[in-house]
């Protein structure tokens, strides 16, 4: 018998891509796409679409009576604005997960649960270790997406204890970038200038959207891997470096004014205090466990992923051509000056005296 897979948050870009990949896989018999929104493009044929909230009884029925063996939970939203306010977002993220897990607890055929989480659970602070591993104790972010993600992870871990026959995989994904990704960080780099915290230059990690799709697919239909795994492109990119690659001018803002400015900018780009701390201290997660136990190595490094995003999505103000030309002109000028110097009383016009 083939696999029967349920995907929540299926109408968002990550979900749509996963659903499409699962639908074409020969080992998969049925894909149920759950989301309260309709997808921008219709799902491929054969996908059963369930347009309901995670808290709906219809979902409970589906999970329990249609022989679902794998549940991929992507329905944890990161953005208050898109979700209709912070209170609604929390309600959906945390209570939605509780409902889904309650339904899953009584699903007789369930063997695998995959949660898409985030490295935001580690928070961002000056006193953080340079590189986070999954087992390190971390202070809980006190609000926002990071806090929701921690609560969701806690519920999933408790589910893991109560249903030992279900392999639970938690994927903590780094900030995603790519040609079609739209999140607070990609919108930040799309601003005409990039506001930064003066005197800080955090280390960032990126995950290319192709790798996001790949790791979710592997966790859903590859060999089962229990546990929590950080997923990020290799290497790190400094914020200053990312801004340069994006070809934008940085706008350093002194720390005491940062929150005021974030509020102003926040009216257009969803700039939570959490996001501000991230842009001050950054965060880097160790991906060795994903490599070893999950067998997943990202195809894109952090730097390549960001460069791909920058070349496909951003219009650079400072281009390579521009820098190369400037360098060339400056060098030519210097060579002329050096020419005069070495010949002492050489006439203006340089090469004439050779």
């Amino acid at each position: 018998m083939g696999r029967r897979i349920l995907v929540t948050g299926a109408a968002r870009s990550t979900g749509r891509r996963l659903v499409a990949a699962l639908a074409t896989d020969p080992e998969v018999d049925a894909v149920v796409a759950v989301d309260d929104l309709g997808p921008d493009e219709p799902f491929p044929p054969g996908v059963e679409q369930l347009r309901v909230d995670l808290r709906s009884p219809a979902l409970v029925r589906t999970v329990q009576s249609t022989g679902i063996d794998t549940c991929v939970h992507l329905g944890v939203a990161a953005e208050p604005r898109a979700a209709g306010g912070r209170a609604t977002m929390k309600e959906r993220n945390v209570l939605g997960t509780m409902q889904l897990l309650a339904a899953a607890y009584h699903a007789p055929d369930l063997r695998r649960l995959v949660l898409k989480s985030t490295t935001a659970v580690y928070g961002a602070a000056a006193g953080d270790p340079a590189v986070w591993t999954e087992a390190m104790g971390h202070e809980t972010p006190s609000h926002g997406f990071g806090k929701d993600a921690i609560e969701v992870e806690d519920y999933v871990r408790s589910f893991d204890r109560r249903r030992p026959d279900v392999a639970v995989t938690v994927l903590r994904l780094a900030n995603q970038v790519g040609p079609t990704v739209d999140n607070p960080l990609t919108r930040y780099f799309e601003l005409p200038v990039c506001p930064t915290v003066f005197g800080f230059d955090p280390r960032l990690q990126f995950l290319h959207e192709d790798d996001t799709a790949e790791v979710l697919l592997r966790a859903a239909i590859g060999p089962a891997a229990r546990g929590t795994f950080n997923v990020a492109g290799d290497g790190v990119v400094l914020l200053s470096q990312a801004i340069r690659i994006a070809g934008k001018p940085p706008l350093p803002i002194p720390e005491p004014l940062v929150n005021r400015v974030a509020e102003l900018v926040g009216r257009t780009v969803d700039f939570s205090p959490e996001q501000v701390r991230f842009l001050q201290y950054g965060r880097v997660a160790d991906t060795a466990a994903a490599r070893k136990q999950l067998g997943f190595s990202p195809a894109w490094t952090s730097l390549d992923a960001f460069e791909d995003f920058a070349t496909t999505r951003l219009r650079r103000l400072v281009t390579e051509e521009w820098v190369a030309r400037l360098e060339q002109e400056a060098l030519a000028g210097l060579r002329r000056a050096a020419g005069w110097l070495s010949r002492g009383d050489a006439p203006m016009g340089g090469d004439g005296s050779r």
């Binding site: 000056a126 006193g127 953080d128 270790p129 340079a130 590189v131 591993t133 390190m136 915290v197 003066f198 005197g199 800080f200 230059d201 280390r203 290497g235 790190v236 990119v237 400094l238 200053s240 470096q241 990312a242 801004i243 340069r244 690659i245 002194p254 720390e255 880097v284 730097l303 460069e307 791909d308 070349t311 400072v318 390579e320 051509e321 820098v323 190369a324 030309r325 400037l326 360098e327 060339q328 400056a330 060098l331 030519a332 210097l334 060579r335 002329r336 000056a337 050096a338 020419g339 110097l341 070495s342 340089g350 090469d351 050779r354």
Partner: protein, 330 residues
Amino acid sequence: MTGAGERCQSLTKKGERCRNPVGPGGRCARHRQPGTTPGAGPDPGAQGDPGAALLGWAEEALEFLGRRLLGEYQVDEFGHDPDLVEHVLAPLLRPLYRHWWRVETRGLEHVPAKGPALVVGNHAGTLPFDALMVALALLDDHPAHRSLRMLAADLAFNLPVVAPLARKSGNTLACAEDARRLLEAGELVGVWPEGYKGLGKPYRERYRLQRFGRGGFVEIALRTGAPIVPVAVLGSEEIYPMVANLRRLARLLGLPYFPVTPTFPLLGPLGAIPLPSKWLIEFCPRIETAHLGPEAVLDPMVLFDLTDQVRDTIQQTLHANLVARRGVFT
């Protein structure tokens, strides 16, 4: 990755293909052979040409600026930026090292040419110049030009401007996880166990080592099997002779101490110029830990003994070098 037009075929320093558009000669402006630029002046390689050296320097500086403007450089996961160290930070410190403090080094052969080791030193002088000079000694004068990855206090990562510089020059927060990770990656790690107690001690206590923390560094060495290289720095005690510590003001500013020296804050910013004492940095013979095995961390006596051994080695080396010293400034 995509783009119209031909691309330059040269390799960048990272070993990747250059993606700049080609100019005349099949190369981009940044990889053109020197001297082939149309309309360029004399061959910069010409002997005895006063402009040539300057030109070579300017060329390198421009290339560096170009790389920085485009973000074409790589840092490791700790944020270490060798390109910036080589072109900006080390050149800024080198005059202090060579001409101001005329640093003399001994025993560099005790620092392994490759693989992990824990360099443990004394810490004094109000500002951590001693740490910077030890790092520069290893980068410039050690045959393998090793980067010292130092474990710094959390204050360094809270201060604007200082925080990113601390990371870019290869340092990280003094915590067991980071130290272990660096040693397991085969890096040379520097630790100053006296911390603020050493940096902020009054001048009258010079060359008397403070308590060596709780021996956390020994535990890390044992867990990773890395050898310990004690290093004794002579001269840093005299750069800012601290006669008093304004504790209240320090607390108000959130600093571990607020130093008063004969010239600071009396002369304002001028008082911040360190005194030109003559320095001697001596690396002592390695103390191996690998034979003890990682289980040794469970035995507190081993930890105490090793901590004391390292501390005594540094203290005795300091005393011996102090006795042999002719004067503070010569």
